[in-house]
């Protein structure tokens, strides 16, 4: 009974400490905001997903062509627009990276 009581008390204290830990570690946090991606970051993520999707689709098409699931004619018809799509996604990402870099460079007075 005593052992159970001690284990129970230790458990309760350990739980309280663990739950309170973020506040004990930073009693007066300078920034307590749970930051989320801003518009620019959201746009970058969306563009990165689009780029990966376009590149994966292109890769799938190449593979399907090599394994005979896509005929030469279909391949020629489909590959152009897909390459364009992938290039557009890559260009948009580069543009966004340049914009982000420009925003980070301080203006000289």
């Amino acid at each position: 009974m005593t052992a159970a009581l001690v284990v129970g008390a230790v458990l309760a204290v350990a739980c309280v400490v663990l739950v309170a830990l973020p506040f004990l570690r930073e009693p007066a946090a300078r920034d307590d905001r749970l930051t989320s991606p801003d518009e620019l970051e959201q746009r970058r993520l969306s563009l990165a997903e689009e780029r990966d999707r376009a590149l994966a689709t292109l890769k799938e098409l190449e593979f399907d062509h090599r394994t005979g699931k896509v005929s030469d004619d279909d391949y020629r018809r489909l590959v152009g627009p897909l390459r364009q799509q992938a290039a557009q996604a890559l260009r948009a990402l580069d543009l966004r990276a340049e914009q982000a870099a420009d925003e980070r460079v301080p203006t000289r007075g």
């Binding site: 009974m1 159970a4 009581l5 284990v7 129970g8 458990l11 309760a12 350990a14 739980c15 663990l18 739950v19 309170a20 830990l21 973020p22 506040f23 930073e26 946090a29 920034d31 307590d32 905001r33 749970l34 930051t35 989320s36 991606p37 970051e41 970058r44 993520l45 969306s46 990165a48 997903e49 689009e50 990966d52 999707r53 994966a56 689709t57 799938e60 098409l61 593979f63 399907d64 090599r66 394994t67 005979g68 699931k69 896509v70 005929s71 004619d73 279909d74 489909l78």
Partner: protein, 662 residues
């Protein structure tokens, strides 16, 4: 010790309530430290549940009959292994196992799910907290495993059908599957609540879903084998409501695993995917409700209990809240792309999804209808095997066929000429197989011939996929056949792991068809020295032998089996009479023929006082392919689950700025 168990459960309950309330507040008001604190509460809840579980396990091991649960489910004579597995042999213990697995999963999911993004993760914590709170509440207020009594001299023992080695593995596997479906649900809800409906929640939960689905699949196959060797009726799946309860979320999760690929590759089906995740989760809770409420007559329902209304309320709450949230977030879930052609890989995935969901919903109706009719008319209607078999054939056979068609069709669109080329070999193999089957006399079952012909088509299509893929990889140069094959699989683990899983489903289909459509059954009353025949085997009954074990008396019929003049061995079907439980169980005897994959299955239906036996013999062709399917299924799942360093690098680069600290 019971006090410690109770205290640990109350602590876990309070921590989970905190994770729910503080986590919601933190996500709503975007407060970082509070979000971290709620996350830590989940971690602490796991610790507290672990202690509660250790207390129950210790009480079982010590035969502490002052614990009502221990007295109700064990006895002094029960072997130690079964005494420990009685942890999940009753309602309260299995709810505790639910909570233990859930809190363990919650900790692991939150620690590894940072890719979902901090704002999504902040909502995942209270969602997991909500589910945990429900189960902890049941354990604290409704069905405590730590209720005590004046210690009895001995316990009531464990249900004889649970005294089987599978008891150690089948329920935990199913629970790992059921509970695992909470993780994708929590991330999907987190993404919707945080208004982040991009792919991050899918990336974060991809492996969780696959693992939960694999556990659920393996758990069901283990259950099927358990039923086959233990229950003694000669089958492996009886469309029992509780068996169906595990099958339904597995079907919904299977649909999700396919349709999520369409979202990843084409950005389509976002609403459908979230709906499937909700459906799979709700069906897993519904399955637990069916097993534990005692509302239905099932071999798995060991108790009548009062937890049913609580489960029903929780299912209604979760379903309504999830659907409302999806409705509110519909504008964020619109797809930019559309299906380009009805003859494409995406389209076959869509057809497969419709068939899987239709099958799951018809099974759901079969399970729910007797309950509804009981509630409305006062009489429970019976939905039996023909209903389920009809829909299994209607939806299952096209599904089988689609498993062969899908891999042969290109993404986006496929031309007729390309289709003709890719279908040539599999179609040729299927036609030849169909003709050969008819010539061999398999036409006695039309469904059987169709299932086998489709199976050959699918296997040929899978083999062709591996062969063409390896050849294409080798053509790039630098590797031999072996290198090309391993590189092909390593670079596309999900695809080729998926094909291996498809092969396991084909083996399953062949086994099920053989054991049901081509089964031979013979029953006879035999006196010692008399014989009967089944499918060419002669069975001679020689008499009985009896043996007394620590917790039961075993009586076995001695049956010698001959094929022509060859003696194949002595088999011993019989019955066990359990002392503490005062119950009799059927103990079957099975002769496996590893060469043909078939079984001779012997049941001592009746042991008569005059020394005769009512013997039932079943010849089940190809039934062992079912168990082989399980091994292949595990192999395929492991290939798909195996970490892919290349993919991990790509995702790390994609989400580099989005990975978070909490």
């Amino acid at each position: 010790m019971a006090d410690l168990g109770r205290a640990a459960l109350v602590t876990a309950f309070l921590l989970l309530v905190y994770a729910l309330v503080a986590g919601s507040l933190a996500a709503w008001q975007k407060r970082r430290r509070l979000a971290e604190s709620a996350q830590n509460a989940l971690l602490a809840a796991f610790g507290a549940t672990l202690i509660a579980s250790a207390v129950l396990l210790a009480a079982l091991a010590r035969h502490d009959f002052s614990f009502q649960y221990v007295a109700d489910h064990t006895s002094h004579e029960l072997p130690l292994g079964y005494t420990l597995t009685a942890f999940w042999g009753g309602q309260e213990g299995s709810l505790l196992l639910w909570l233990l697995v859930l809190t363990g999963y919650s900790v692991a999911a939150v620690l590894t799910g940072r890719r979902a993004g901090r704002e999504v993760l902040a909502w995942v914590v209270p969602t997991l907290g909500l589910v945990g709170t429900f189960f902890a509440m049941l354990l604290v207020f409704v069905a405590s495993p730590f209720a005590t009594q004046a210690a009895a001299a001995d316990g009531a023992g464990l249900n004889p059908s649970l005294q089987n080695p599978y008891m150690a593995i089948h329920p935990p596997m199913l629970y790992l599957g059921y509970v695992g479906l909470t993780v994708p649900f929590a991330f999907a809800m987190g993404a919707l609540l945080a208004r982040r409906t991009d792919e991050r929640w899918i990336v974060a939960t991809r492996r969780w879903t696959l693992a939960a689905w694999a556990f659920l699949g393996v758990g069901q196959l283990l259950g099927a084998h358990w039923a086959y060797v233990e229950i003694g009726w000669g089958g492996f799946y009886a469309w029992d409501p509780v068996e169906n309860a595990a099958l339904m979320p597995w079907l919904a999760a299977t649909a999700f695993l396919h349709s999520v690929m369409i979202q990843e590759k084409r950005g389509m089906l976002k609403v459908w995917n979230v709906l499937l995740v909700v459906l799979a989760f709700c069906l897993s809770i519904f399955g637990t409700f069916l097993t534990r409420s005692g509302i239905i007559q099932s071999i798995h329902s060991f108790t009548q209990s009062s937890i049913g209304p609580w489960f029903l309320g929780f299912i209604c709450l979760i379903t309504a809240a999830s659907l409302a949230l999806i409705f509110v977030r519909l504008p964020l879930l619109r797809s930019k792309t559309r299906l380009e052609s009805l003859v494409s890989r995406e389209a076959t995935f869509l057809y497969n999804n419709l068939l899987l969901v239709a099958l799951a919903l018809t099974i759901l109706w079969g399970v729910v209808y007797p309950i509804l009719s009981q509630a409305v008319t006062g009489e429970a209607a019976t939905v039996s095997k023909p209903y389920y078999n009809f829909f299994l054939h209607t939806f299952g056979l096209p599904l089988l066929l689609l498993m062969g068609i899908g891999p042969l069709v290109a993404w986006r669109r496929a031309s007729l000429r390309a289709l003709g080329r890719t279908f040539l070999w599999p179609l040729g193999a299927a036609v030849i197989a169909g003709i050969a089957l008819l010539a061999a006399g398999a036409g006695s079952s039309r469904i059987g011939v169709v299932a086998y012909t489709f199976s050959v088509f699918v296997l040929a299509s899978i083999a062709l996929e591996f062969a063409r893929g390896t050849a294409a990889r080798k053509a790039l140069g630098g590797v031999g056949w072996g290198g090309a094959f391993s590189s092909l699989v390593a670079r596309n683990r999900r695809r080729y792991g998926g094909y291996v899983v498809h092969a396991s489903v084909v083996l399953l289909a062949i086994g099920v068809t053989g054991a049901s459509a081509y089964q031979t059954v013979h029953e006879a009353r035999l006196k010692p020295g008399q014989s009967m025949s089944v499918a060419g085997d002669r069975l001679v009954f020689r008499g009985y032998e009896t043996k007394t074990e620590s917790n039961h008396r075993a009586i076995r019929a001695l049956v010698d089996v001959y094929r022509g003049n060859d003696y194949l061995g002595r088999y011993k079907p019989g019955k066990n009479q359990y002392f503490a439980e005062d119950q009799v169980s059927n103990e079957v005897s099975i002769r496996h023929d590893w060469l043909t994959g078939g079984d001779l299955f012997l049941i001592a239906d009746q042991v008569n006082a005059n020394g005769s036996i009512d013997l039932k013999a079943l010849q089940k062709p190809l039934v062992n392919l079912l168990w082989l399917a399980g091994i292949v299924f595990i192999g395929g799942s492991l290939i798909a689950l195996w970490p892919d360093a290349r993919e991990a690098r790509r995702l790390a680069e994609r989400y580099a700025d989005g990975v978070v600290r909490i």
